[in-house]
């Protein structure tokens, strides 16, 4: 019986668990319940990916109404792959959160944290799986509202302004998407994405459709923090509780990237978006600027969470760059980086959260001498940091490899060189932290009170991610296979992809 509903389960499980968590109130059982539901969702998304890899596309008609009249969940390799990353990270972050939030969130709000986290997971899963443009908007809002809540839970007052700015920007983005979807609906009379795709063909050169497309892309770009629409992200990630930063940095923007890919590749014709509108050029330039400008900004920050936040903006640049290359390999690089970046950023934010747990600060000065005092945490930070840089045998290297290969396939030597030069900036901003941890003497106040390693419940998920960083950096069969299937599938129906492929070969 569950097989039949596989597509709906990853959304429904956290969605149903959220109100129950809310009623359960404040106890360790709440944590256990939230974590195990998230793990269950993770289990089903694993099955979903397996099913998508073997059967291709799964369609689930909600309410029994066939699309386009009812709402359809549409699962393919691409979204199942991203979903797996999201639900895995969610579970690990929840394990990590139990101790982490003790220090960062008032005790009375712990059950609210778990509820909001599950709502956010449900919203993100919904955004990934839905096949309906308006339903996407609804789940976008579910996840967004939960995200604003999560960000505002921290004890630092600056989290409030960060959350407010996030709320305003996010709502503008969502409204833009709403306008865009409205225009598409106006011209086609349908909301189902697949149906939209087939009916947009008829009106290909319609100015209304083009405007709608532009609005959707801009709206999604706000959500995924594409430079220069990223201004909400650094404060939000900096001042949010560490567990929240770890979760959001590794999932929320990735889902938005997926939504962008989905709209461009399955709803609008790739050919139309890229060849006629020249969107690829715009995206490419923005991505490159994002990589350099944000990496540079990251270098001059003193708050390590801000450093990581700007680094996220830069890494999103890599994902967008991959898709702007308009080739199977480029898209594959984007997908692989979506997955891999979740692994590395999750581990990094967890490590920083662990430092906050013990030291009470995430300023770079607080990291001094921690290499000795918190060896496991800092080792985790170092390995994940090397992964961000793109050192071989870590996942970061795999991402860079595919991205540069994709660029070289089309003889974009300059872009390939720029991508690699971008990693050099990562060397600097990660290096600063590592150097502080291993080569600088602790400040006097820190030297006095003995700093211990964090509880194992925080270390375990952190190290699971770190080991995953190494494992998927060596055994790439799962990521490559899934990402390849995903991008092949997205390119399947477009003629341009095939012609481009022929040119390459």
């Amino acid at each position: 019986m569950l097989e039949q509903h596989l597509a709906a389960l990853p959304i429904l499980i956290p969605l149903l668990a959220a109100p129950i968590t809310f009623i359960l109130g404040r106890s360790w059982f709440t944590w256990l319940f939230a974590t195990s539901t998230s793990a269950l969702a993770c289990f089903f998304s694993w099955h979903l990916l397996a099913a998508a890899l073997s059967d291709g596309v799964l369609s689930y008609a909600l309410g029994g109404w066939p699309p386009p009249w009812g709402i359809e969940l549409r699962v393919d390799t691409a979204n199942a792959f991203v979903l797996l990353a999201v639900s895995t990270l969610s579970t690990l972050v929840l394990v990590y959160a139990k101790d982490s939030i003790e220090k960062e969130i008032e005790a009375s709000k712990h059950s609210l944290f778990y509820t909001a986290h599950l709502l956010c997971l449900a919203g993100l899963s919904g955004m990934l799986l839905t096949g309906d443009a308006f339903n996407l908007f609804v789940f976008l809002e579910v996840s967004s509202l939960a995200t604003y809540t999560l960000v505002s839970l921290a004890s630092d007052r600056r989290c409030l302004t960060a959350a407010f700015r996030y709320l305003v920007m996010g709502t503008i983005g969502a409204t833009f998407i709403l306008i865009g979807v409205g225009m598409l609906y106006m011209m086609t009379g349908t909301l189902n994405m697949l149906d939209l795709a087939s009916r947009i063909d008829v009106y290909e050169s319609s100015r209304t459709i083009n405007t709608g497309m532009a609005f959707i892309i801009v709206g999604v770009s706000i959500k995924l923090a594409l430079f220069p629409l990223h201004m909400w992200l650094p404060p939000a990630y900096t001042y949010a509780p560490s567990a929240v930063s770890a979760f959001l940095a590794s999932t929320a923007t990735k889902v938005a990237v997926y939504v962008m890919i989905r709209f461009i590749f399955t709803v609008f014709e790739v050919e139309h978006v890229f060849e006629e509108m020249r969107m690829d050029l715009i995206l490419m330039v923005l991505a490159i600027v994002a990589i350099f400008k944000s990496s540079y900004t990251a270098i001059v920050q003193s708050n390590v969470k801000t450093v990581l936040a700007y680094s996220s903006v830069a890494q999103i640049g890599y994902m967008i760059l991959g898709l702007s290359l308009v080739s199977v390999t480029g898209l594959m690089a984007s997908f692989i980086h979506i997955f891999n970046h979740a692994l590395m950023k999750g581990a990094l934010f967890m490590a920083v959260g662990a430092v906050f747990y013990r030291v009470g600060s995430v300023d770079i000065k607080a990291f001094r001498g921690l290499g000795k005092q918190m060896p496991l945490t800092m080792a985790a930070f170092t390995i994940a940091g090397l992964s961000i840089i793109g050192v071989p045998l870590t996942v970061g290297f795999i991402s860079k490899w595919y991205l540069v290969t994709a660029a070289l396939e089309q003889n974009h030597w300059v872009i390939a060189a720029l991508v690699l030069a971008g990693s050099l900036l990562a060397v600097v901003y990660i290096g600063r932290v590592i150097e502080a941890a291993y080569f600088q003497e602790p400040t006097e106040s820190q030297a006095h009170n003995k700093i211990k390693e964090v509880p194992w419940l925080m270390l375990t998920p952190m190290w699971v991610l770190v080991l995953a960083n190494i494992y998927f950096g060596v055994d790439t069969s799962l990521t490559t296979e899934a990402a390849n299937a995903a991008s092949e599938w997205l390119f399947q129906n477009t003629e341009m992809a095939t012609t481009r492929q022929e040119v390459i070969k």
Partner: protein, 510 residues
């Protein structure tokens, strides 16, 4: 002599990489008991050397040894394959590891260094990655372990933990990592996108169908991407890394790390570009002249340095470019000379570094100006220094003679008189900056008064260090009289040969 007869030849590669790795683990486990820890280091080094000897044996028997570890990208594995050039490098590195371990025990204890466990552990890790570089079967594997080597040696460079060490470490890591990511990785990926393979193949993987301009660009990217080869202007890391303890400088910065760099260049030139293809590239000449300039300029800089290790460091920069030049001359004899220079320079330079360390431990002197008259206190060390210096200069009866000989012949063969001149001038410069040190140590006295020499005056370094530097200086002799095994090995490299010239010369000398 072959202890490993029963082992599947291909598995020897795995063993050669795993043995130092296991050694590193055991070192960590036994960190509390220094004697056991050092014993483990020595035993591991000896086992490794015997493994490499066995591999050499199989190489001469023409055994094909290769393994594939894991498929990293579709169609691209991490794979290892034995070929003669790698065997040569592995032999040198594993042999010198034993010697250096003996030396390091004396040095580290004599100096009361901190964190000795970390030191020996990272040392073993570095050797493990050097072995992986030696036997790498494709460019991807080479690149990966090249980076691993950089990271595993970083803690060694910053071992002292003071500001100077940190600064040195930052430059070291900064230059090596930046060049490898920005240039080398791009070159590797460029090669992959052009040819669809990264395997090392005899005669190279490029052919005439590829755009010459792009290939020329790739050559420059490779040369500069391999920052470990220290071609100017990316040589700054080498002098900076001299803040490391002397055994590290000795093994890593005279042998393992820098030689890994030039070895990679040589391997890429021979197996990726192919000597024939290389001749047709415009940038080959440009890089050749940059290499020549590096030889001369760094020799000149070496002369101005009063700190002994700094002078040796610049000497290394200069000598490394010999190998680069030899590779880029694109003639089979010059390549043979370059390959041989890996071995001969290694024994010579390691002797010099050993001496520098011995002087530091015994008389706490770092600067050359303070070493006047030191020959009386440390006769053995200084004799060894003189031997090493003569080998580096390239005078008989020391090992360095052969490699310079072949390099010069290669330059003549390639009709590059400018390079011949450079080599000659460089030898003179070598004399100018190396020989005065032992001469002043023996024939001048600091106080000016003449006292008859007696054993009582001597204040030599600890015994393990003396053993080590005696062995390496002896090796300088031995390699002059018995270079044959190495030359045989080099002649196995496809496209590289010393055949014709060698017979003539041996007859002439004999």
């Amino acid at each position: 002599m072959n202890l490993w007869q029963n082992v599947e030849p291909s598995q020897l590669i795995t063993l050669s990489i795993l043995v130092p790795l296991i050694g590193a683990l055991l070192v960590i486990l036994t960190g509390k008991i220094p004697n056991l820890r050092e014993a483990i280091t020595l035993v591991t080094a000896t086992i490794l050397f015997s493994i490499v000897l066995a591999i050499t044996d199989f190489t001469f028997q023409g055994e094909d040894m290769h393994i594939q570890v894991i498929e990293l990208f579709p169609g691209l594995d991490i794979s290892f394959e034995v070929e003669p050039l790698g065997v040569l490098f592995a032999l040198v590195a594993s042999f010198l590891w034993i010697i250096t371990s003996i030396y390091a025990i004396g040095y580290m204890r004599g100096h009361n260094e901190q964190n000795q466990t970390r030191f020996f552990c990272c040392f073993a890790l570095a050797i493990s990655s050097v072995m992986a570089i030696c036997f790498s079967g494709n460019l991807l594997t080479l690149f990966i372990f090249y980076e691993v080597l950089t990271f595993s040696t970083y803690p060694l460079v910053t071992h002292a933990g003071n500001d100077a060490a940190k600064k040195g470490g930052r430059i070291y890591l900064g230059i090596l990592l930046s060049t490898s990511i920005a240039f080398l990785l791009l070159a590797v990926l460029g090669t992959y996108s052009l040819t669809g393979t990264l395997d090392f193949r005899a005669g190279g993987i490029f052919d005439d169908s590829h755009n010459k301009v792009i290939l020329g660009g790739l050559l420059v990217l490779f040369c500069y991407g391999i920052g470990k080869a220290a071609i100017m202007p990316f040589h700054r890391w080498l002098p900076a890394a001299m803040v490391a303890p002397t055994p590290v400088s000795a093994l890593l910065h005279a042998v393992a790390v820098v030689k890994a760099g030039v070895f990679s260049i040589l391997k890429i030139v021979i197996y990726i570009f192919g000597l024939e293809e290389l001749k047709t590239l415009a940038t080959t000449d440009i890089m050749l002249y940059i290499g020549a300039a590096t030889i001369l300029l760094s020799s000149c800089i070496a002369m101005t340095k009063d700190n002994l290790k700094a002078r040796l460091a610049y000497s290394t920069v200069s000598q490394l470019s010999y190998i680069v030049v030899g590779a880029l001359l694109a003639s089979s004899v010059a390549s043979a000379g370059a390959a041989l220079h890996i071995a001969t320079h290694a024994v010579g330079k390691i002797t010099l570094f050993f001496c520098a360390g011995a002087i530091m431990v015994a008389s706490h002197k770092k600067n050359i100006s303070e070493m006047v008259g030191l020959g009386r206190k440390m006769p053995i060390t200084m004799v060894a220094f003189a031997i090493g210096a003569i080998s580096i200069i390239g005078l008989p009866p020391m090992a360095g003679t052969w490699s310079k000989w072949y390099l010069t012949i290669g330059a003549l063969e390639a009709d590059k008189l400018f390079i011949v001149a450079t080599l000659m001038v460089s030898s003179l410069l070598n004399i100018a900056y190396l020989l005065p040190i032992p001469i002043k140590a023996f024939f001048n006295t600091s106080s000016g008064e003449q006292k008859p020499w007696s054993w009582a005056d001597t204040k030599e370094a600890p015994l393990p260090m003396l053993i080590a530097l005696s062995v390496t200086s002896l090796a300088c002799f031995v390699l002059f009289f018995y270079p044959q095994p190495l030359i045989d090995l080099i002649n196995l490299i496809p496209g590289v040969s010393t055949e014709v010239e060698m017979t003539n010369n041996l007859n002439g000398d004999g």
